[in-house]
Amino acid sequence: MRAETAARSRTIVGHAVLLLGVLITIFPFYWMFVMASNTTGDIFAYPPELVPGPHLWENMNKVFDGIDFWGSMGITVVAATSVTFLVLLFDSLAAFAFAKYDFPGRRVLFWIVLATFMIPMQLALVPQFVTLAWLGWVGSLKALIIPGAANAFGIFWMRQYAQGAIADELIQASRVDGAGFFRQWWTVGLPVLRPGLAFLGIFTFFHIWNDYLWPLIVMTDPGKVTLQVAVQQLNGVYTTDQSMVIAGALMSVIPLIGVFLIGSRHFIANLAAGAMKF
């Protein structure tokens, strides 16, 4: 009896803690909506407006006037989709080779992949920019897509996944059928790796969508910037109209949250599993 009440009270305390945490976590989203749907005057008045107001549409229209919202959205979508596709392609090929095949230099090469984790990309920010200038890519989408088209994290993670998920017998059977490496990757590897690909895909997509420092530096044509940079510019130019700026922020976040809610279960489970591999 006593143990049961203790357990129940512990559960209640647990839920209370969790709910409080959720409230704090979710509050900024609520507040974002409140700000975007009121006027700046209402928000910064004392006492401030605490519930959503009727001005959302008006603020959103101001955002369309202030920045080329759909244009930046298009650039962001193209960049994020392209990088995601290339990362899945290149990383899964490399991971498949590292996980299931022996070839001379394999260990050394894999160690290089691991070592690149340790090098912070910001270290080489200036020379990377200069490299792109020499290539003539500054300001173009290539600058956002190519440098990140394959990454160490994805290769490492996919290799761990592939080692556990792909049975050697399947590959052997495929070989007997006369399939070469690439056909084996296509017919044996990819179908089994699908959940892992889904995780890595969502992860990469979010990462590129939210990336800020690199596009801020490298997208020099003000008519061609990503959504993050465009929203930040909105703040630079219209600092005094916070409601409008926050409406822009809201518009830049909605697609992401939508994608996340659709794929969240899968993503979170894989993320935790991935962390446990280190």
Binding site: T84, F85, W134, W137, V138, K142, L144, I145, T220, P222
Partner: protein, 427 residues
């Protein structure tokens, strides 16, 4: 979500292909379509109406070319320099603020306007302004836009209260120099206890600097930023702060507007554009009460800007046609009536539109103050390193204003500048 591998492959490949866009795999050095002359400016730097005309009807004198302008918000110089360092998608024409000398070390990235016969137009513009466009090596890398001749702005109603004359000539005679100006400020205190004569002491410094014949360096690269004249200007700024005649509003803060709106600052020395940015927009209710007269300490210039054509331009000829058209004397008049951008061509000064009585200034013809002021400005050599020195003085003056010893601040400023110039390889 059962998407087949093949469909996903097709989808991704399509997106990736889209990423390489219309430019193909080569790189595009200039920004814009082949028939577009691209221009980067900041807000309120050129006449919007004239730009719109060139965007819709094409550039006068350059058949088949139209203009495409982008207003860059935020840090303009950073964006321009990053684009120049990136060496691709560089606009044909860029606006340059009063710090044109910053670009002298990189003069090669701009076309020499003398190659297009700019010399023929020299007589149309103020000499001192024209000289600022020319590098020590004699290349003309920029073209004059507006100028910022200074005047003394004052509110007649508040001066009356203090028993001070409101006649422009008499007032100018009362405060011919800075000491007279300080005395005027003390006079104002009799009727208005908290009256100030400047928003902050750095403002005094920059106005005084605009009146002197030299800045921080000589043309042959000697540092002269420690000479007595500047030391005195530094002291002057300090004295005005010490006597409580500065509002102490930080640069770039909204308090700058507040002191004008509230009437706490009944007098102010500023360039033409100061009148527009402060009294006219921050205190519209005071219309008709303001007047302008000659500034204490002599004529000077603060601000003003330029246009330059980059070497990446797809057609420098067409770009040159555009800038000379946009800055012709008659179009400079237009820019003045539309945006209060003060002309750099004396030929504009005599135009009837320029001589219109200005209602905000009680029907005064302000050109009668600013015209002569603009003609009297001296040629001052500005060095490429001013951009590292200006902030040092600004920072130390802010320190002085918040109580730092003026001698220590001056010494610290000199030490910091020596360190910075050494770093830049200037000394």
């Amino acid at each position: 979500m059962a998407v087949s591998r093949r469909r996903l492959l097709a989808l991704g490949a399509g997106a990736a292909a889209g990423g390489f866009g219309p430019t193909g795999c080569g790189s595009q050095r200039t920004l814009g379509d082949p028939d577009e002359i691209t221009l980067w400016t900041w807000d309120r730097s050129v006449s919007d109406e004239l730009v719109a005309r060139a965007e819709t009807k094409g550039i006068p004198g350059a058949e088949g070319f139209r203009l495409s302008r982008t207003n860059i918000g935020g840090h303009f110089n950073t964006k321009v320099r990053t684009a120049l360092a990136g060496k691709s998608l560089v606009p044909d024409i860029i606006g340059i603020n009063s710090d044109v000398a910053t670009y002298f070390p990189n003069q090669d990235v701009f076309v020499d306007l003398n190659d297009f016969g700019a010399a023929e137009l020299k007589s149309r513009y103020l000499d001192w302004k024209w000289n600022e466009c020319v590098t020590p090596e004699g290349r003309m890398i920029a073209f004059p836009m507006d100028t910022g001749p200074t005047g003394l702005f004052y509110r007649t109603d508040l001066l009356k209260e203090a028993g001070i004359t409101t006649d422009p000539k008499e007032l100018a005679a009362r405060a011919p120099d800075w000491d007279g100006f300080i005395a005027l400020g003390k006079e104002l205190r009799k009727s208005q206890e908290r009256a100030v004569i400047c928003p902050n002491i750095h403002h005094v410094w920059s106005i005084r600097l605009g009146q002197l014949a030299g800045k921080f360096m000589t043309q042959d690269g000697r540092y002269i930023g420690d000479r007595d004249e500047l030391r005195e200007a530094f002291e002057l700024a300090y004295r005005i702060g010490r006597d409580g005649l500065s509002a102490g509003a930080p640069e770039g803060s909204t308090d700058l507007y507040g002191v004008v709106t509230s009437g706490r600052q009944p007098v102010g020395i500023g360039a033409v554009w100061w009148g527009l940015a402060f009294p006219e927009s921050a205190a519209p209710k005071t219309e008709g009460k303001w007047r302008v007269t000659d500034p204490p300490g002599g004529a000077g210039n603060v601000g003003g800007s330029f246009l330059a054509i980059t070497k990446y331009s797809k057609n420098p000829e067409a770009a040159y046609k555009f800038i000379t058209w946009l800055q012709s004397p008659e179009n400079q008049v237009k820019a003045f009536t539309e945006m209060s951008l003060f002309p750099s061509s004396p030929r504009s000064f005599t135009r009837p539109e320029m001589r219109e009585p200005r209602p905000f200034y009680g029907g005064q013809r302000t050109i009668e103050v600013f015209g002569p002021s603009a003609r009297q400005v001296r040629t001052v050599y500005k060095s490429p390193y001013d951009r590292v020195m200006d902030p040092v003085f600004a920072a130390e003056l802010a320190n002085v204003e918040s109580g730092k010893n003026v001698d220590t601040a001056w010494r610290d400023a000199q030490d910091t500048i020596e360190r910075e110039l050494t770093r830049e390889g200037a000394i």
